[in-house]
Subunit: 278 residues, 2 copies
Amino acid sequence: MRVRVDLAYDGAGFHGWARQPGLRTVQGELETALATVLRVPEVSVTCAGRTDTGVHARGQVCHLDVADDALTGAAGRSTGAPARAVATRLNGLLPADVRVRALRGVPDDFDARVSALWRRYAYRVADDPGTVDPLTRGHVLSWRHPLDLEAMNLAGGALLGEHDFAAFCKRREGATTVRTLLDLQWARDASGVAVATVRADAFCHHMVRSLMGALLAAGEGRRPPDWPAGVLRAGVRDSAVPVLPAHALTLEEVGYPADDELGARAEASRRMRSVEAP
Amino acid sequence: MRVRVDLAYDGAGFHGWARQPGLRTVQGELETALATVLRVPEVSVTCAGRTDTGVHARGQVCHLDVADDALTGAAGRSTGAPARAVATRLNGLLPADVRVRALRGVPDDFDARVSALWRRYAYRVADDPGTVDPLTRGHVLSWRHPLDLEAMNLAGGALLGEHDFAAFCKRREGATTVRTLLDLQWARDASGVAVATVRADAFCHHMVRSLMGALLAAGEGRRPPDWPAGVLRAGVRDSAVPVLPAHALTLEEVGYPADDELGARAEASRRMRSVEAP
């Protein structure tokens, strides 16, 4: 049977999502804990967004295949739903910087990566000494210059829609950089921190952090609000666009179709471009 | 002249507020940075709430006395208000886990400790695996049992007003434990975390964390909602009341009278009981 796992992690202590020999990664920690709880020699999970080193997640989604009786077996004598018992056991084994938030059986054609309709990230910036909070410094960027959110929203609005985002992506041989940017909106949260909501069908490598670099240049007045759109149109990587730090980026949510539309979605994806990490 | 400093800190790396030889404390770090920026051999600051080891602050307030030209001198050639320039220099020197949020000259009868009308703390608890967030694990307690906030608010409401809180305080020779509890209210924030707002004229030692221990016992159903009020009335420390962990406690705000009422407040305080740390 196929199992979906929703998880959250603090990226600070990890060399990103993807398992790498000799390095501490989220996939590595999760697969080790799953193998122990499910009492199998090895487990392989697939995730929606292969986050880079230092990037956090509150809404990462992954899937794996287990034997039909695996959850019931792993839940042991605990009362209540086996899936919930397995999640509790996983959290007992996992280090405090990764938490399983939910775990449940899903239809066989659910694929955490391929079925995803969109990924939503947040990028957080404290641009005023009065809003810098030492308690959140691990996931909020401290910025010395005040940001004009109106200018940043004007700049960001011009990037929405389907475009070739090559100018904001780290090139990968043979991979397309055409993406559909669905949301790019800045707002201040209750504590005054500037939060960007960035949602797209998928992201290419470094795309969110490069977009943020271009928008902050507009937000602090170093560049006009139409500069990011000009960079996009030029279609080549621009060294004037900084890739902002990873620690302020969080994968917040992944959107999926309803269960009965998963089959159609899988078919559509097979006809589409390959999907990469931001 | 008298200077007020508002600051925020992550308590995890500190042995509390108060300076202690050979230990890293918030007061020690702040006084060292102030002495450097003000170019004086020594500085002594007084704060509103002497937080314990591990307790955080977003709204700590302290004061110090400096020579009349000290701020202008320390600001150097920087343009803009000298107080703002000094705050920027302090933040450049201070470690990332302490931030100066504001700094300004105040009337001579402002005293961060004595003038304070009330202190407001928050205590944060994630009582559902779905709300546990690794990014905030440094200042939110993870709790295994679901909490009934209605029961906790019923229990907390019965503690409001002026009482002898000896049952919830670590005894100190000769110090009164009479306090006026102004607010004690639980609510869930946007992410589902249970947040207690606790406000009083002042707190005695361990008072907030003991109150939280009593309320959580009511919230998870181990004790009836009228149990904390019974403990209060008994008037002696009750070993059945746990002192909850420090890391979920944050000093959020300190209330002061308007500048022209500071004199009257100082006079009233002299006639009142001594004020201690929570």
